[in-house]
Amino acid sequence: MSHDWANDVRSEYDVIVIGGGLAGLTCANMLAKGAHSVLLLEQHYNLGGLATWFKRKGHIFDIALHGFPVGMIKTCRKYWTPEIASMIVQLKGIRFDNPQFSFTTSYDRDDFTRILEQRFKIPRENIENFFHAARNMNFYDDESMTTREFFEKFFPGREDVHRLLMEPIAYANGSTLGDPGIGYGIVFSNFMSKGIYTVRGGTDQFIEKMREELLRNSVDIRTRCLVEKIVVKDKQTVGVIANGKTIKSKAVVSNGNLLSTIHKLVGDENFSEGFIEEANKVRLNNSTCQVYIGIKKGEKIDYIGDLLFASEAKKLDPQELRSKNTTSRSFSIYYPQTRPGSDMYSIVASSNANYDDWANLSEEEYRASKEELMQRTLNALEKYIPEIREKVGYLEAATPRTFQRYTLHLNGASFGTKFEGLKVSMGLPKEIAGLFHTGSVGIIMSGWLGAANYGVIVANDVDKFLSAGGVN
C-alpha cells in the first residue's frame, strides 16, 4: 500500500503554496515569518524545483546552471538565514572558447572593460557608455528596444562583441537578441557588478538548509503531493485538491508554470475572456539538454576553469544555439572543493533546446539521439580534457522530455515564460481573489536570484491581501 503524503494535513491554512521551486520556497518562508499558516505542496520528492540534484555512483550532480549574481547573498541573508548566505562563493574562472574569441575572465565590469578595450579594440568611452546605459535601465522603462538594438547602439556591426555579451545570458535564462533590452540590461548589470557566484556545498545542502528554516518557521511541507486543482468559487480561491483531498485556504500561490496554472489547475472557465486572450499570447521559454559526466573515483582532472562557454559555431546564431546538433554549450566543472569533504570530480554540460525537436521521437530514435548527444558532448570536451573518455565513470543525459517529466512544466520549459508572462502572472489576483503566481516569468524574474526575489514580491502581495481580511 502506498503512503499518502497528504495524510494528516490540516483542513485549512491561510496560504497554500503549490510547488517548491526557489520562488515558492522563498514566498512560503516570508509568509510563515509573517505569522501566516502555510502549507507547501510539492509533487516531486525533493524541494528546489529546477534548483535540484541527483545522486549516482558517489556523484551528486547539480541540475540548474550554477551561476547567479552577487545579489543572491543579500537575498539569502534578508529572506533566509545568514548561514545560507554564507554558502555563496564566487566562481573565478569563467572561460570563453569559440571561433571568434577565446579567453578566461572573472566576468565583472573591470575585467570586461579591459577585455573590450584591449582585445576587441573598443574605445573606452563606448564601453563606459554601454555599462552606464545598462546599469540605469529599470523596470518601468520602455520595452520596445530589443537587446540587438541595444547592442547596435554601442557596438554597431560588432557580432563578436554581441556574442560575448549575449551567449552567457542566453544560457542563464534562455533570452535572445529579440527580447527587450531592459531585461537584458538589468540582468547583465547584476552579473557585472561583482561576477558570477555559486553555492559551496552544492544544491542539495543549500535546499536542505532552506527546508530546515521552513520547518523552524512552522511551514507544513508535503512532498510527493500532486495538486490536481485549485478550487475557485465566485471569483475567489477557496483551496486546492491534492492527492484527491480538498484542503481549504484563504490564498493560493502557484509556483507551477504560469500557463499550466491558468489552463490546468484553475481552468479557463474561471477567467474573463480578455485575460485568457492575454494568457494565450504568453510564449514559453525554451527547454534544456544536459549531459552529466562523472569522473571515476580516484581519477583527477586538471583545472580548466569553473564555467566554460564553448561553441564551434562561427558566430552567435539563435537557431544553432537551440538546435538538436548544437555545438554551443556551457560546461560547469565541479572540483572536489565545490563540495568540501568530497573527492569526486564531475562535469555538467548544458545547452538550450527546443521541446519539439525531442517530443515526437520514437523510443528508439529518442535513445539514439540521447546517445549522440552524450558522444558529441564528450568529443567537445576532449579539446579541454584530452583523456576524458578514459576517466568517465558515469554518463547520463537529460532532454526536454526529462525536464517535463520531473518538473511538469509545459514543454519542459526550463526558464518559465517570456517577459509578457509577468503581466499575466501579476494580473491573476485581479481576476480571482486570493490567487497568486510566482516563478520564472521574463528574465528579470528568472534564474535563482530572480525567482527568489519574485517570491518575496508575491509574498508581500499575499500578506497585503490576508491583512485586509482576504479581499483585494
Binding site: 534578508k78 526575489n453 497585503k464 491583512s467
Partner: protein, 83 residues
C-alpha cells in the same frame, strides 16, 4: 508619533535592511538611492516593514513619495500621527 520620531523610525528600518551602510550623513532632500546602496528589493523591504510594524499600507502608485527621507516623513506623518 512626532515628525522626528517618524524620521527615526524610517531610519531604523533602513538600517536593519542595509546594515553595512553608514546612514549618519543621509540628506533629507536627496533620493535615498542616490546616497546609499539601496536596490529595488531593499525598497520593497521598507514597504513591508512599514506594514508589519505600523500597519501602514503604501500602494505601489505612491512608492515614489518615499524616495527621499523628507518625502517619507511628509507622507507618513498623517498616517502615523496617532500611533
Amino acid at each position: 508619533m512626532t515628525k522626528e520620531q517618524i524620521r527615526a523610525a524610517v531610519l531604523e528600518i533602513i538600517a536593519q535592511i542595509i546594515p553595512d551602510e553608514d546612514l549618519s550623513n543621509l540628506k533629507g532632500d536627496v533620493p535615498i538611492r542616490e546616497q546609499v546602496e539601496l536596490d529595488s528589493m531593499d525598497f520593497l523591504d521598507i514597504i513591508m516593514e512599514l506594514r508589519k510594524r505600523y500597519g501602514i499600507e503604501v500602494p505601489e502608485s505612491e512608492y515614489m513619495q518615499l524616495a527621499t527621507l523628507d518625502g517619507s516623513v511628509a507622507y507618513l506623518e498623517p498616517r502615523m500621527r496617532n500611533l
